[in-house]
């Protein structure tokens, strides 16, 4: 585990971050890098709820999409100054994730997945119904660039590159901090041994609401940045394809590892681009990867890297049903 708190490590990281755009030179490579970093943020934040907390929050993609649309709509239609729209995106998504959490946590198991899925579909339906404000099925174009002191980021792609990097670093540091803190441990405890955790005084609903809301912060910022970078907000951001891609990053990278989804995001985004030549087959490959990972490597690719993760994978693989006595404690 990288500990960025160590001084040397920090310097190396900063140097690498500054140098990166030189390595990824050329607009195509930089574009890929920016997209993969933004996806990495979304995926690693999804890992907080899906992996660590074990909450199947299908509305996470909507946090990204709403962040994107808030940025676009507020700057285009309501004259909100750039940068302030990012704040607005966080606020709106925080409200939305709070509502999601309250609704979802009243339910158990598969119903959580279904209600969050329904919420995402509701967002899609709302956006599709609003042609004037949200651009309907076509989307909104002309989203203004981010700018500092009059200099628009659109003039030099590297500014977006640095922004994405900064956001990714901030997000990862935060996610790691959360995951290794008492808060993160309590989430895992609630996931695996709920009754015991509750009996030890951990408030289940409060921790989970916090997890869901926390997972929305950087995700919404990534969405807003996405809108400014592309200059466009379209319903594609809620699409099944993107959701599946993001989900695959979490699963294939390794649930409850934070770093796994980041690495997977970069690899899969690059792969999706490389395979663009064979068209739709790349989605088939990603889909097959998801199934194969779930089947043979439930801990994800990261489990190959870290022995700690191997233990998690063994737990997730679980004993099969006919082994279990019908009475007696089940490790969940």
């Amino acid at each position: 585990m990288i500990r960025p708190a160590s001084g040397v490590g920090l310097l190396v990281l900063i140097a690498a971050a500054l140098a990166a755009p030189q390595v990824f030179s050329g607009s195509v490579a930089q574009n890929l890098a920016i997209l993969s970093m933004l996806y990495a943020i979304v995926a690693s934040n999804w890992d907080l709820t899906l992996g660590y907390a074990g909450i199947f929050n299908f509305a996470h993609v909507a946090f990204f999409g709403i962040g994107c649309y808030v940025a676009a709509i507020s700057t285009l239609h309501f004259g909100v100054p750039v940068w302030w729209d990012l704040v607005l995106a966080v606020v709106v998504v925080a409200l939305m994730s709070g509502i999601t959490a309250v609704l979802a946590l009243r339910l158990r198991g598969i119903y959580v997945a279904l209600v969050t899925f329904a919420l995402t579909q509701l967002c899609v339906a709302l956006i599709n119904s609003q042609k004037e404000i949200a651009g309907g099925p076509i989307g909104l174009v002309g989203v203004p660039d981010l700018s500092i002191g009059g200099f628009a980021f659109g003039n030099d792609q590297r500014w977006y590159f640095y922004s994405a990097e900064l956001l990714l670093i901030a997000s990862t540091v935060t996610m790691r901090w959360l995951a290794t803190s008492d808060f993160g441990i309590s989430l895992v405890a609630l996931r695996d041994f709920e009754d015991y955790a509750v009996s030890r005084g951990i408030p289940p609903t409060r921790q989970r609401v916090l997890a869901i809301v926390a997972s929305g912060v950087f995700t919404s910022l990534a969405g807003a940045l996405y809108a400014h970078y592309l200059g466009v907000a379209s319903p594609d951001v809620f699409s099944f394809s993107l959701s599946t891609l993001l989900l695959s990053m979490v699963l294939v990278g390794g649930a409850a590892t934070t770093y796994g989804p980041i690495v997977a995001a970069i690899v899969l985004t690059l792969m999706a681009e490389k395979l663009a030549g064979i068209g739709n087959i790349r989605f088939m490959v990603i889909a097959a990867l998801i199934v194969l990972t779930l089947r043979f490597l439930p801990g994800g690719a990261w489990s190959l890297v870290s022995p700690l993760r191997l233990r998690l994978a063994a737990h997730q693989a679980g004993p099969s049903e006919s082994d279990q006595p019908s009475t007696g404690p089940h490790p969940r």
């Binding site: 004993p319 006919s322 082994d323 006595p325």
Partner: protein, 238 residues
């Protein structure tokens, strides 16, 4: 057909619960299993009825080797396991549940006869045949569970704690009916806490402790009866 269990080792995943069990159920006889909870009585029944993975040792019934066979095959060979505390099928009627008991092909053909048999034995179930299982009382549920087992046309019936949680009067009633079933020639393995009940019904008892047979009581000699009670309960009853 006799059931012979030789040196059976089985358990759940990596945990071995049975460490070499040897029991025998001669054709048409009843044997009882008793002993402390969690020491393997239910596990033994589950091993015989095919619910556990990879048992070692031998389970033979008549001419068939049923070691590690799946439940479907075990049922087809005529061994029916009536589990403990069954919640039955809550939203099915008694009649539907009984019909289901005759699921396996050889039992399906004989279900008309078995309906008669079961309704004669348990008239209360006949009265309640169109009611849903979840509306039955505890005693009626136990009767229904056994009746469902009988619909499977068993050669060997295994009852796991049939009298658990029942009031004494209901228990005595059930004991009588089990006796009637026994008289029809069905072999039985009965697991129960009530050693007196077992003595009343069974010719031979096995005490299962720590996953092994620690005592075999071959007949109801008074001496052995006291011995069992002393070992098991620590005191001798008057």
């Amino acid at each position: 057909m006799s059931l012979v269990v030789e040196d059976l080792r089985a358990g759940y995943g990596r945990i071995e619960v049975l460490h070499g069990i040897n029991i025998e159920v001669p054709d048409g006889s009843r044997i009882g299993l008793f002993g402390p909870n969690g020491h393997g009585k239910t596990t033994l029944l589950r091993a015989i009825s095919g619910l556990l993975q990879l048992p070692r040792g031998r389970v033979r019934f008549g001419g068939d080797d049923l070691t590690g066979a799946n439940t479907q095959r075990v049922v087809e060979c005529g061994i029916i396991h009536v589990p403990q505390g069954s919640t039955l099928f809550p939203r099915m009627t008694v009649l539907e549940a009984l019909t289901l008991g005759a699921y396996s092909p050889h039992a399906w053909q004989r279900r008309r006869d078995n309906f008669d048999r079961v309704f004669t034995l348990f008239p209360r179930l006949s009265e309640r045949r169109d009611q849903q299982c979840r509306t039955l009382s505890g005693g009626e549920r136990q009767m229904a569970a056994i009746a469902i087992g009988l619909m499977g046309d068993p050669r060997l019936l295994m009852l796991d704690e049939p009298t658990l949680g029942l009031a004494p009067k209901v228990r005595a009633d059930l004991e009588q009916r089990i006796q009637t079933i026994a008289e029809s020639g069905v072999s039985m393995i009965i697991v129960d806490q009530d050693v007196e009940l077992l003595f009343g019904l069974c010719r031979r008892l096995y005490l299962i402790e720590q996953g092994r047979v620690s005592l075999e009581v071959a007949d109801r000699g008074e001496v052995q009866h006291q011995e069992v009670l002393r070992r098991y309960f620590g005191t001798v009853s008057a």
